[in-house]
Symmetry: C2
């Protein structure tokens, strides 16, 4: 059975518990940025309800231009004013050699346009990511930018910036 058949079956049960329509503007005026990692169930881990916060996730939880584009829409069109950035333990981007990876992909005939290096320490990376958001002039609200490390073995969030 394909993984997606499981998803559709589970969703049919979920619909019965769904609380109903909510505004598209996040209730907590919050956007959360994190990694795509499979061990981060963002709503449960942060106690979020339907309609509470924007959730942005990519490989590494890194502040790429696509994340800044999304945050600009989040703040300018949908009223968010706070940003929470989570990096996490045991990340696939720890020690990731992006230069070698881009060279590998270029062999397919389509050359990557990005330059998104990996990192070594998640807490250190959180501080860099917070700084990157604070320096982006596209975002009208940059006073409340918070950084966390999420422990994927324990489910625990720790504030670091």
């Amino acid at each position: 059975m394909s993984a997606v058949d499981e998803l559709l079956r589970a969703n049919a049960e979920y619909v019965a518990t769904f609380p109903g329509p909510r505004p598209k503007e996040p209730r907590l005026r919050l956007a959360v940025v994190s990694c795509m990692d499979s061990r981060i169930d963002m709503f449960a881990a942060l106690g979020l309800g339907i309609g509470d916060a924007h959730i942005l996730r990519n490989g590494g939880g890194l502040i790429t231009e696509d994340v800044l584009r999304s945050l600009a829409i989040s703040q300018r069109a949908l009223g968010t004013t706070e940003v929470a950035i989570l990096h996490h333990t045991d990340c696939g981007m720890t020690g990731f050699d992006d230069t070698a990876f881009r060279a590998e992909l270029a062999q397919t005939g389509q050359t990557p346009g990005w330059d998104v290096p990996g990192f070594t320490d998640p807490a250190d990376q959180v501080r860099r990511s917070v700084q990157r958001v604070r320096e982006c002039p596209w975002l009208p609200a940059r006073d409340a930018v918070h950084g966390f490390v999420f422990d994927v073995a324990a489910g625990r969030l720790a504030a670091v910036a």
Copy 2:
């Protein structure tokens, strides 16, 4: 109280329910791409457990180069072989004028490098997004690329591609 104080309080309760360590390679060998929209609780809506799937989210759930970068890492470094793409009803990117938005941001002195237009119909956009992933040579597994529309008023997932 800042929104993040609420998150930390909720997380302290979550830790007690956390199932423990899981491998970083997703159990369902699946990556899910969707919008940052605040009304999509991905784990609950799809019945996912800790460690099951990569979750990628940005403004619009659009297949940007950052999403393709993340999918390339997901497949080449972490073993996923299926992709599920969700667009949704009542999306902030429906009818979004990206050209005007980029011009607005350029006035801050930092010119956007992207070109990520909005869309009109989510089902139509799903088919375009599926096609974009199927055409990306960076991804070794492109046979199982599935498309869905998520109804944010009802919590219901519908397969469309």
